[in-house]
């Protein structure tokens, strides 16, 4: 029995199958999640309806930023240099430190501090990554002492497409590698990735980071969702999403990357579900381990993203036809892909909230030990009690619904800005709105459905 034991209520590793999720699953299944999901979907429908009847400028007005201080002196390259130093130290600890991923600072830093926390904060606050980018700091520093510009020009014809491939590579590692948390394995992966991109930056200059390096592209995309950003050379504050309207329409490659952020996040949730495991013919109570699903996870990641892009493009095309909009499919995707960022970000936060609450304690425990501040007991107790589990689920669901509402507002504002009347905008949006309502229900279902991997 041991075997199955806790598969019982267990800790299905979360996402990435990496960090334990949990026995909260049993209590989630006791919640009336059907009702909550319906309410979430209805909220998004209501948003659509309101936008159709309210004056056209309302959505745009919501996102108008408030200018704050003038920009501060720029120290971010210095911090970036420190970040690179920290990263190299982490790689060294990955190779030589504890074999236990929950006690190794590299595993904890990459998967909990960076992937769960920093990505979320980047989306909530603004471009923090700029301050800790471990490539731009060393590049600026080297450039200053060598005093020479990059040797080659980045071939512009490639656009952001290498970045799309780079991010997909990261997502593949997260979702399909058999042991992405193993400190030694992770150290090698991080070292190779850092060195490769460092060489790219040195040879091709900053364009490499803006076009090829997937993590920087991910972070810059999510920075568009932050409260803080720049408007007219000043620091400005606005409702989440204001920068999506303030920034120029992305290139097609970058737009596709934004879709891939959402698609990969969705598959991150989907691949753990009983439904997916059933499709693979696996017993959800006896998950055979990540090494048994490498191929199927890679395929699933690819198909989910392709499917999402196809459905999204179809909705836009249908909308354009309804509204008699002459814009071509490429422009439509570029125009509307950023409206999916709040959905992707919200799902990221919701999906990882439990992992953050549990694995964040391991980070604290490690820090406490490293600083000699004593033992921190890591507890999963909050996952074994109905009250906290309900609160966590409602928070996750609230974030996901909020993300979809913001997405609707953004899409409407963009349609109106493209010169469409409120009625036309509503019409053009109808298929996309339907898609987003469907995605709300799908996202909430992912949080509610039983997981086995």
């Amino acid at each position: 029995m041991a075997k199955v034991l806790l598969s019982t209520l267990v800790l299905c590793l979360s996402a990435e199958a990496v960090w334990a999720h949990a026995s909260e699953q049993g209590f989630v299944l006791l919640l009336p999640t059907d009702v909550y999901i319906a309410a979430g979907g209805a909220t998004v429908v209501l948003t659509v309806a309101l936008l159709a009847v309210l004056p056209g400028g309302v959505a745009g007005a919501i996102f108008r930023p408030v200018p704050l201080a003038a920009s501060r002196p720029n120290l971010h390259h210095l911090f970036g240099l420190v970040a690179a130093g920290v990263l190299l130290w982490l790689i060294w600890r990955g190779l030589t430190g504890s074999r236990d991923p929950m006690m190794n600072p590299l595993s904890l830093s990459v998967w909990v501090v960076f992937w769960i926390a920093l990505v979320s904060l980047q989306g909530l606050i603004g471009d923090l990554w700029r301050w800790i980018n471990p490539w731009s700091g060393p590049a600026a520093f080297l450039g200053r002492i060598i005093g020479r510009r990059a040797r080659w020009r980045y071939p512009r014809v490639l656009g952001h497409w290498p970045g799309v491939a780079s991010f997909l590579g990261f997502a593949g590692f997260l979702l399909a590698d058999p042991a992405p948390t193993d400190p030694g394995r992770l150290a090698v992966a991080v070292a190779v990735y850092w060195a490769f991109n460092m060489a790219g930056v040195l040879l091709f200059g900053g364009a490499w980071l803006l076009r090829v390096e997937g993590i920087t592209l991910l972070m810059r995309s999510y920075a568009r969702m932050g409260l803080l950003g720049r408007a007219q050379g000043r620091l400005a504050l606005g409702v989440p999403g204001w920068q999506v309207l303030a920034q120029p329409v992305p290139s097609l490659g970058l737009a596709v990357l934004m879709l891939v952020l959402l698609g990969s996040g969705s598959f991150d949730g989907l691949n753990e579900t009983f439904l997916w495991l059933g499709w693979l013919g696996l017993n959800p109570l006896e998950f055979p381990g990540r090494s048994a699903v490498i191929g199927s996870n890679l395929l699933g990641l690819l198909l989910t993203n392709l499917g999402l892009i196809a459905v999204f493009a179809l909705c836009l095309w249908l909308g354009a036809r309804l509204a008699k909009d002459q814009a071509g499919p490429g422009l439509l995707i570029r125009r509307y892909a950023p409206t999916l960022l709040p959905i992707a970000l919200a799902y990221h936060i919701g999906h990882y909230l439990t992992s953050f609450l549990l694995d964040g304690q391991y980070v604290l425990a490690w820090l406490s030990e490293a600083l000699g501040a004593g033992h921190v007991h890591v507890t999963a107790g909050f996952l074994n009690s109905p009250g906290p589990v309900r609160l966590i689920w409602m928070t996750q669901a609230g974030v996901v619904v909020a993300g979809h509402v913001i997405a609707q507002l953004l899409a409407h504002a963009i349609a109106v800005r493209a010169g469409q009347s409120t009625r036309r905008a509503a019409l053009a949006q109808a298929p996309l709105a339907l898609f987003m309502v469907g995605y709300t229900v799908f996202g909430l279902w992912l949080l509610a459905t039983p997981r086995g991997a």
Binding site: V10, P178, H377, G381
Partner: protein, 427 residues
Amino acid sequence: MTTPTKTATRRGALKTLAGGAAAAALPLWARYTHAQSAEPIRIGFQQHRTGIGAAYGRWYGRTTEAAVGLINAGGGINGRPVEIVAEDDGTDPKRGAEVVEKFANQHGCDVGFGTLFSHVVIGSAPRAGELKLPYFVVSEGTHVSSGMLNRYTLQPGITDVRSQVISMAPFITETLGKKVTMIFPDYGFGYDHRDALAPAIEAQGGEVLAKIAIPPSETSFTRYFPKIPRDTEVLYHVMVGPAVLTFVKELGEFFGGQGPALFGFIDSLEAVAINSPGLDFLEGSHFWEGMCRHQQPDETAHEAFYREAVGVDARGASVNDPADVSTYGHMFGCWETLHVIKAGMEAAGYRGPQDRAALIEAVEAMSDMPQSREHPQGAKRFNGKTHQVFGHQFISQVKNGTLMRVHTTAIEDSLYPDMVDYTTQAF
């Protein structure tokens, strides 16, 4: 039967712990002076740190840490300190084999230890055999005694599912009723129960009226309950998975407190507070427990010492967080296994990897292990031929939200004929 030695007191346990702490406070050279080598004994701990076994892995880790702390405080093994080398296997059989390989070839471990989930044991044990690494599993699987593994794989610290199930039969038929219906998940784990229980019930003059197999992906169970024969006296349930709480709730709603007696395995609710809202229907029902989660009025000094050492309170939860319920019914296996490794190494005069075969032989030579601080769950009897230990099992009844022990089985109740003799296999 297990005889309680004496009622434990917190003060007594603290005193003993203080003794250990005093020993631990000695400088290293003083604690290990009689060792031929101060090199640590390296025990590779194959831990389910991530993956579906992580909840167990966390508590197996804490128990291991506590046991090693105690062993080291007492002078280590053969005068050498014990060092745990933990590697995460992701609860993944393929990685499990890789971890075993790392223990042998990379980390210079003397033995491997601690694996829980059966599929990981089955995936890892062949590699341990090839590498001639003594591999001490804590899995409860019957795969060790069934003969499917090898001479290097042993399970001396925890009993196996088959012995647990068959030892339940006499109590079920004598106390709860002779007409039994089983509800179990429709795959290997459920089949182990189905195949072991039915003959045992029949041997006691009972009858299994129906065997209801539930598809593993099922999350609602109401439509299966009408299949329970009306004259059922005992409902034997071994549901696992995230839907187990739903199962209990729906069962309660279906019977409305008027149904047959319920008998389950604590595996279903390991790490979950038994008095959680929604589990009220379990009041009065019976559970198999590998070790009693809730402190019993007659808890022995050894149990009390163990409970304190692993940092668990009277309700089986962490002393740091009463909501953090441990995997109490299983994790003692790590503690006891580590003490068996220590006893085996001492009996074999273990010095290093060249003595691995001697270590296996020393453990194979073990038989009765009395209840002690090293074996707080109770007395054990090791079968050197099948590499499997046998012991007492506990049946507890939920009374006012607390699991109260109502029966302790005799070791003899859990024995079954040998299916293998590993000692005939060459090293």
